[in-house]
């Protein structure tokens, strides 16, 4: 019987999805892809992933946060670990980014690009493997 854990990956860059999928599959996970926030939230309902990875900047600068709050209030996303991806260093001195109020919480933020072993190590840790 197939006991692979399921990971949902939401990012608007198709190539980034492919590249990350290859790494996660090599790590033994079943990977589901969504190219925008809305279909990501839909897909979470149908596949019930064990973990979701969400890009912060998609259609808008903070689309990722919207996705996270939708997942956090849905049955399929309430309990699972969430990883947020960001391509910029939000803590850097040169960013004028202001995060939305009532920031929904994620379990981990990773900066792109992500080293393959970092990604697998962190995913494994969050899934308590």
């Amino acid at each position: 019987m197939d006991t692979k854990k399921k990971i949902l990956l939401i990012d608007d860059d198709k190539d980034f999805l492919m590249a990350t999928k290859l790494i996660l599959e090599k790590g033994g996970y079943e990977v589901f892809l969504a190219e925008d926030g809305r279909s990501g939230v839909e897909m979470a309902k149908s596949v019930n992933p064990n973990l979701a990875i969400i890009d912060m900047m998609m259609e808008t600068w903070s689309e990722g946060f919207n996705v996270v709050s939708k997942l956090r209030t849905s049955d399929s996303g309430k309990q699972i670990p969430l990883i947020m991806l960001s391509a910029v260093d939000l803590q850097g001195p040169y960013q004028s980014f202001e995060p939305p109020e009532d920031l929904p919480t994620v379990d981990l933020v990773l900066h792109k690009p992500i080293k393959a072993d970092d990604l697998l190590k962190n995913v494994g840790m969050l899934l308590r493997e």
Binding site: D15, K26, M57, P113
Partner: protein, 369 residues
């Protein structure tokens, strides 16, 4: 062409009823909405309420100085085009009125055609002014957004390529020959260089358009130098270069932005490592006199030819031409110079070919007044 956002309403302020009537008729015939006032103060109030495109003001009125009206309207409503109506005898005052902000003048007596010609010119001037202002705002907005846009659009593909390389390394583990792995590593290196180039370019753009955030505080440069030595030491060790320091005790404080100066020091030291052969030495010194704090970085490298020295802070300038392209972004020294300029500080290089190069940075001291 008349922009719907620009008012073609004309206001005429003159004490002579016959002039008001004549002007109103002539201009309304050409399709302009016209309002008139025979009183100065009432005229200013009308200007505030109606926001006309053009206001004609008679300089000589019995109860009110036309010059004051010009001054008040041009200060309060700079968008309004002011045109002075004046007798032949007062051309001098017409010039004075233009200095106070009037755009043109119409000498009495004038024909309806002359009036219409001046009005047309005034409206066109107004259109150009409004358009120029709009373009200026648009340009400023685009410059601000451009940097944000570029930083996202340029980084994204690089990040994706790096992610592909990560997955390629993982899924091909053990199955690729060493020379193929070597190619992958070279790709990674060149992508990293490109990323550095983008970061440097963004920094410079931010300095140039004023969005580079700097927090100037009282700083002890010794601490900063120590931090950058710590940061650069692993790189020097890898390249078998000795990194040493001769720092003055109790160095006086300066005003500066910690993070950007740290990057300047690391940049200059990093630059030195590129031109210093294994076994060479890089020395960081600090010193001061009554007016300045000095930080210098000397290397025992190949040196810079005298005739190239003046150009080294220019963007993408390469002392040794194309062969150096792989060494860095080509913007590190340009960035450093701009940061130093922003600190009212200087950076200069002295060099002897075959013996080495010294970069000296000079910061003004701050005294409690």
């Amino acid at each position: 062409m008349i922009d719907p956002g620009v008012s073609t309403h004309i206001l005429i302020i003159d004490d002579e009823e016959s002039i008001l009537d004549g002007c109103k008729q002539a201009l309304e015939k050409s399709g302009y909405p016209v309002t008139t006032s025979s009183d100065g103060l009432a005229g200013i109030k009308l200007a505030r309420d109606l926001k006309p495109g053009v206001v004609f003001v008679d300089l000589k009125m019995p109860n009110c100085s036309g010059m004051d009206i010009i001054e008040i309207i041009s200060r309060e409503m700079p968008d309004i085009v002011l045109i002075v109506i004046t007798g032949y005898a007062s051309i001098v005052s017409a010039v004075e009125a233009m200095k106070k902000g009037a755009y043109d003048y119409l000498p009495k007596p004038f024909t309806p055609d002359q009036l219409r010609a001046v009005t047309k010119r005034g409206i066109e001037h107004r259109l150009l002014k409004v358009e120029a202002e709009r373009l200026r705002e648009e340009k400023a907005r685009m410059e601000r957004n451009f940097i944000t846009f570029v930083s996202h659009e340029m980084r994204s593909p690089l990040v994706t390529i790096q992610q592909y390389i990560e997955s390629l390394k993982l899924i091909s583990e053990g199955s690729l020959k060493p020379d193929a792995m070597q190619i992958i590593h070279r790709c990674e290196k060149r992508i990293q260089n490109l990323q550095d180039l983008i970061e440097h370019w963004l920094d410079i753009s931010r300095i140039e358009n004023g969005t580079f955030s700097e927090a100037k505080v009282t700083l002890n440069l010794t601490e900063l130098i120590m931090r950058s030595l710590e940061e650069m030491n692993p790189l020097c060790q890898r390249r078998e270069i000795f990194l040493e320091s001769r720092l003055k005790d109790n160095l006086p404080v300066i005003m500066g932005d910690q993070e950007s100066l740290l990057r300047v020091f690391s940049n200059i030291i990093g630059n030195a490592t590129k031109y210093t052969p294994p076994g060479g030495t890089i020395t960081v010194c600090s010193d001061c006199d009554d007016y300045y704090v000095y930080v210098s970085v000397s290397d025992s490298g190949q040196g810079i030819p005298q005739d190239k020295l003046p150009f080294i802070f220019e963007p993408f300038f390469r002392v040794h031409g194309k062969q150096e392209r792989q060494k860095g972004s080509g913007l590190g020294l340009t960035f450093s110079k701009k940061i130093m300029d922003a600190h009212n500080a200087t950076i200069e290089a002295a060099s002897k070919e075959g013996e080495g190069t010294t970069f000296t940075m000079k910061f003004p001291r701050v005294y409690d007044l």
